[in-house]
Every structure is written in C-alpha cells, then in structure tokens.
C-alpha cells in the first residue's frame, strides 16, 4: 500500500466537508422530533434542496442565492408534510415516505438539464493571516461559510432548546401535546414551525452536497444521507452537540472508506462503500439496546397525531 497518498490535513478537511450536510439535516430533524413529529422525508427534502440550490446557482450565478433557494425549497416540501400531518392528520410515517419518494422524483425531473455541469466555485471564508497557518490554517480558518454556519446552528439550537422559553414550549409540545393544548399553547402552529425549520435545514444540507461537496448535480446524489441523518438523531439522544459529533463520526466513516478505496485495498470497492450503511445499523443497535437511555430524551409524543377535540 502506498501510504503517501494520505495527507492528514486533506483528510480532515474532507471529513468536515462530508460531515457538514449531515449536521444541517440532523439538527433540523432533531428540532422537528423534539416537537413530537417524526418526519421521515429528510432524504426527499435534502435532494430537492440539492437540485434547487444547484439549479438556482446556475441560473443566478450566485451561490448565496442558491443556498437561499435550497432553504426555501426544503421548507416548501416540509410545508407540504406539515399540511398533511398537522391539518389533515395523515400518518406521519407514511407521509414522510411519500415525501421522500416524491422528492426523489421531483429532483430527478428538475435536475435532468443540469446533469454533468460543474458548479461555480463556492466562496471560502478565509480569515486573512490565520488561514495561512500551517495545519491549523486549513483545518480551522479556511472553510466555506456554511461550515461555520453549521457550528452556529448547532450552538443556537442547543441554546434554544435548553435556555429559552420558546425551546421549553417546543419540548413541552413534544412531551405531552394534550397538556400543552390544555394550558393554551397552539400545538399545530408550533409543530408546523418546527417542521418548516427542519425542512429548511435539510434543504441547505442538500445544497451543500451539490454546491460544495460534489460539486455537481448527480441524480440520487444524497444516497441515503437523509436516512443517516435520522439515525444520527437517535444516536444523539436528541442532544444537539451529540448530533454534531454523530455527523462527524459518519462523515469520518465515509471518508475512511473512500481513502481505503484510493489506497487500493484488496477488497472490491462495493464492500467498502457499504460501510457507512452498516455502521449506521451497528450504531443504531448499540444506542437503542439501552432502552432506558434511549427513552430518557426521546419526546414522549414522537409520531403521535394530535387532534384538538372541540
């Protein structure tokens, strides 16, 4: 094996790029689930975000406008889910699946003319001076602004959930929607807001894939990352910083297997490509096996429909 192909700093940077879309999607879904809603449509919202971000960037020439478009597209799809589950009270599991199937189809349709075109370069938010430092520079100070945004998002959601009244109300709604309704909180409105937030996050996560990580549009390019984000939320026991860590672990696994492939390890590449999915299963099993701990932070009303009688 030729180990010289491995540059630790480059690997770390690749890891950050692999983890960031997962951070966005997982943090968004975490907020949704804390409000007591299970949205299995993350994969669909991500891929629609990916194509919306890519297409609008192509049309407008601005990656910022593209990211905004992805945010809106993700939220729009989430709005559909919110309408179905909160107003029409449809089954959340089935509706989430529908959202994913629909989103995959929609993205493929919209994306047809954009296949194979490279994306304009994504501006990096280098901090002059600091970013030129050896090792630390590229690791800490020379990323695109979305990497920093993902950190701010995680910290912000942590603060919101644990330190703010809005977060307390959100947790209360996820914990016991009937009680929250009885005290006078608007369960449906609060949940809808959380769902839209989750959709916007997933959309941005998807756009990160098509604008920064790839950076081009490939049909089905999310390749299960939306589902992995769902698994990360379980792994994190619904805690934002643990979700952040989880995203980096999963990012690490996919980077590791790619590097092993690059090294020409004597296994067929398909078996290495399986590892992120198998790791997801293993992690899910380990985390879920401790029932008491799995339940400790899980919102008690997760996935249960709410109907205000009278």
């Amino acid at each position: 094996m030729d180990m010289s192909a491995l540059n630790p700093v480059a690997i770390m940077v690749a890891l950050i790029v692999a983890a960031t879309p997962l951070v966005f999607a997982a943090i968004g879904e975490l907020v949704v689930e804390k409000a007591g809603v299970l949205n299995l449509g993350v994969e669909g919202m991500m891929i629609v975000g990916a194509i919306a971000g890519f297409a609008i960037t192509q049309e407008s020439g601005s990656t910022t406008v593209g990211i905004l478009a992805a945010l809106v597209a993700g939220a729009a799809l989430a709005g559909l889910f919110a309408f179905m589950t909160q107003v029409l009270m449809s089954n959340q599991v089935a509706t989430g699946l529908a959202l994913t199937l629909f989103g995959l189809g929609l993205a493929a349709m919209i994306g047809q003319p954009y296949a194979g075109i490279p994306s304009p370069p994504f501006p990096e938010l280098s901090i002059p001076g600091l970013s030129d430092l050896p090792v630390l520079g590229p690791l800490l100070f020379a990323h695109d602004w979305l990497v920093y945004a993902s950190l701010v998002l995680t910290g912000g959601v942590w603060w919101l959930l644990n330190r703010s009244r809005a977060g307390l109300v959100l947790r209360a709604v996820g914990e016991n929607h009937d009680a929250a309704h009885a005290i006078g909180y608007r369960v449906v409105a609060i949940r809808t807001a959380a769902i839209l937030f989750g959709g916007a996050c997933a959309g941005v996560g998807g756009a990160y894939l098509s604008l920064v990580a790839a950076p081009l549009w490939v049909e089905g390019m999310t390749a299960g990352r939306g589902w992995i984000a769902l698994a990360i939320v379980v792994f994190a026991s619904w805690k934002p910083w643990r979700a952040f860590l989880g995203a980096y672990i999963f990012g690490g696994v996919s980077i590791a297997q790619l590097n092993l492939q690059a090294l020409g390890v004597a296994i067929e590449s398909q078996y290495l490509s399986m590892t992120p999915y198998i790791v997801t299963i293993v992690v899910l099993v380990i985390i879920s096996a401790d029932k008491a701990r799995a339940r400790m932070n899980a919102p008690a009303c997760l996935g249960r429909p709410f109907f205000a009688a009278g």
Partner: protein, 363 residues
C-alpha cells in the same frame, strides 16, 4: 370556514372512495404538471392511462410489471397493518434476485424441472432472511426497523454490483458487469406466447388469495390488525409482539425475495446491477393505494403497472422526463394519504359559520 370533526366510526364509503378520488386528483394535478413541462396535458394523460390498454403487448406488460408490485405489496400490507414498517422491500427484492440467480447459475447447464423451484425457494428464503435482520434487531435491541431495513437496501444494491463484477461475472462477457444469461431450465415459463408475461403472475394471484384468507379469516391476520390498531389490546389478547414482527417481516421479505427471483429468471434473464428498478419502493404506494387489502392491492398494482408502461410511452412520444412518472406516483401517495383523513373525520362548517347560518335562517 370549514373544520374537521371526528367521526364515531370510520366511514366505509370514504375508505374505498378515497383511493378513487386520489387517482382523480392525481390526474388533475398531473395534467397541471405536464402542462407546466410544456406537454399537451390531455394527450399525456391518455398515453399514460389509456394507450397501454389498447394493444396486446402493453396489456401483457401489465402482468410483467404488476407481478412484482403485487407480490411485494401483499407482503408489505401484512406488516403495515401491524405497524411494522418494512421500508426495505427493495433490498429484499435484490437479495432474492441474487440468491435465486446464484442458485440457477450454480447448476448452470443442468436441465431439470427442480431447478426453478429451487431458485424460487432460495430467493424467498434469502429475502426473508434479509428482512429478518431488521426484525430481530427491533425485537432484541429495540432498533428502528425503518432505518435498518432501508440501510440494507443500499447494502444489497452494492452487494449485487460486487457480485456481478466478481464471482458471478459472465466468464465470456468481455468484463461487462453482468452474469451469464440463465439457462432455459432456470428461466420462467412464459404464460402468453410471444410476450414477456411469465408464470410469476399466477404466484401473485395466489399471494392475493392466500393473503386475503390470512388477513380476513385467520387469527394471524387478526393479530396483525389488532397489533397495529391497539398494541396493548393485542398483548391483552395474548399475542406477542416478537411473533408479530417476525412473521410479518419474514413473510413480506420472502415475497419480495420471490419477486426478485422472478424478475431475474423472467423478464431480465440474468443478474445485472440495473436489475432493481424501484419496485420495492413503488410497492409501498401500491399497498396504501390498495388500502392494505389484498383485493385492493391487486387492482392498485395493475394501475401502478399502467403508469409505468404509460410513463415509458410518454417518455418516447412526448419526451417526458423519466422522473416525471415518479413525481406522478409520489403525488398519488400524497393525495391518497390526504383523502384518508375523510374516512376518520368529516368536514363540518366552523362554529362561526354555523352560527351565522343559524342567524340567517332566523332572520
């Protein structure tokens, strides 16, 4: 304004009218979609829903595409009734194709009536085993079966790709990633001369009948329904969760695996990476469209097969993007789930409107 009001009982009319309304709404919104894509909406809908019925070949293709959808959806319905969410039928389908195909390739060039049954058995067993992984992980470790079964779809797809580039690759195939073409005795007999419709269609019919008996007339189906509607009541009745999960996942995985073997030994005729075309996911829509009822699923799989064939026609004739038909199918599931609300709730005028009406009446 209108508001929703809970019905005391599920409406029987809406339970069956819902899917029909959903299909109608999908057609309407589909026409809007096609118009937005710059296609003649009426013509496109006609190509999708009518043209395939007008010639013999397309009609026989309904059987080809409907067979896997129906087989898989009947199995999924069992689990969905019980609140066991097997989302990985696509993976079980692939593994079934691999096992059935590998069994056929293992005895390549051997004639015998036992070859096909052996392949089917291998495929069904492999599909069931693949589905039992999430089932056992759920029972033993409380792991979410949705995520696990779904992850296994990706694993199965990669495995198929690894096998046809590795051990199962056709030795005379110029390094193309595909297996040998199955020997005659490993290929499904054709049902209608000159078409691709194979005997798997009969198996799908049998699955519908047996599925109906199991769901509506047998304790097994009763325990599934009870578990899905009221898990505590099911435990009170003496049904164990582990048994329900294992049985529903195992059976649905087995049927998906069987469908995979049929696909490999029927229309495709060999193992290729492109063998899975999403039947496992579309079958989820079919199961809901058929109201998780085997009879309904039979009709729904015919309808869904129609959109596949019609969709291909529209791709050729109207240059409709291939993915438009997935959007169309996704929309159908949305409308269906949306319509569902009206079997549990009814629309009633809001309080304010009712009051205004009462006043108007008095005045």
């Amino acid at each position: 304004m209108l508001r929703l009001e809970k019905r005391k009982e599920r409406s029987r009319v809406m339970t069956w009218a819902g899917p029909l309304l959903a299909v109608a709404l999908t057609m309407v919104f589909g026409m809007i979609l096609f118009a937005a894509l710059g296609k003649d909406p009426v013509r496109t809908i006609a190509i999708i829903f009518w043209d395939p019925l007008t010639n013999d070949f397309s009609r026989s293709e309904l059987l080809v595409k409907g067979t896997p959808l129906c087989l898989i959806a009947v199995g999924l319905a069992l689990g969905f009734r019980a609140g066991v969410w097997n989302i990985g039928a696509e993976g079980q389908f692939i593994v079934g194709a691999i096992a059935g195909g590998a069994a056929g390739l293992a005895v390549y060039d051997t004639a015998g009536v036992w070859v096909l049954p052996m392949m089917c058995l291998a495929g069904a067993a492999a599909g069931a085993a693949w589905a039992l992984i999430p089932a056992i992980l759920r029972i033993r470790f409380n792991a979410n079966e949705i995520l696990v079964s779904l992850m296994l779809v990706y694993v199965a797809g990669l495995w198929l790709s690894a096998l046809v580039t590795g051990p199962l690759r056709d030795p005379d195939g110029f390094n193309f990633p595909e297996s040998r073409i199955f020997h005659d005795s490993a290929t499904l007999p054709i049902l209608l001369e000159g078409t691709r419709a194979h005997v798997g269609a009969l198996a799908a019919l049998a699955a519908v009948v047996i599925g109906w008996l199991a769901l509506e007339r047998h304790e097994y189906g009763f325990s599934l329904k009870l578990f899905g509607q009221a898990p505590r009541a099911a435990r009170f009745a003496g049904y164990r969760e582990a048994r329900v999960v294992l049985l529903s996942m195992g059976v649905s995985g087995g049927l998906a695996g069987l469908a995979g073997t049929f696909e490999a030994a029927g229309p495709v005729g060999q193992l290729v990476p492109a063998l899975p075309v999403g039947y496992g996911f579309t079958a989820i829509i079919v199961a809901f469209l058929g109201r998780l009822h085997p009879g309904g699923i039979l009709l729904a799989s015919a309808l869904m097969a129609l959109t596949y064939i019609g969709g291909e026609g529209a791709q050729l004739e109207m240059r409709l993007p291939a993915a438009a038909i997935s959007v169309f199918q996704g929309m159908l599931l949305f409308f269906l789930l949306g319509m569902d609300v009206f079997s549990r709730y009814r629309l009633a005028p809001s309080k304010a409107l009712a009051a205004r009406r009462a006043q108007g009446g008095a005045a």
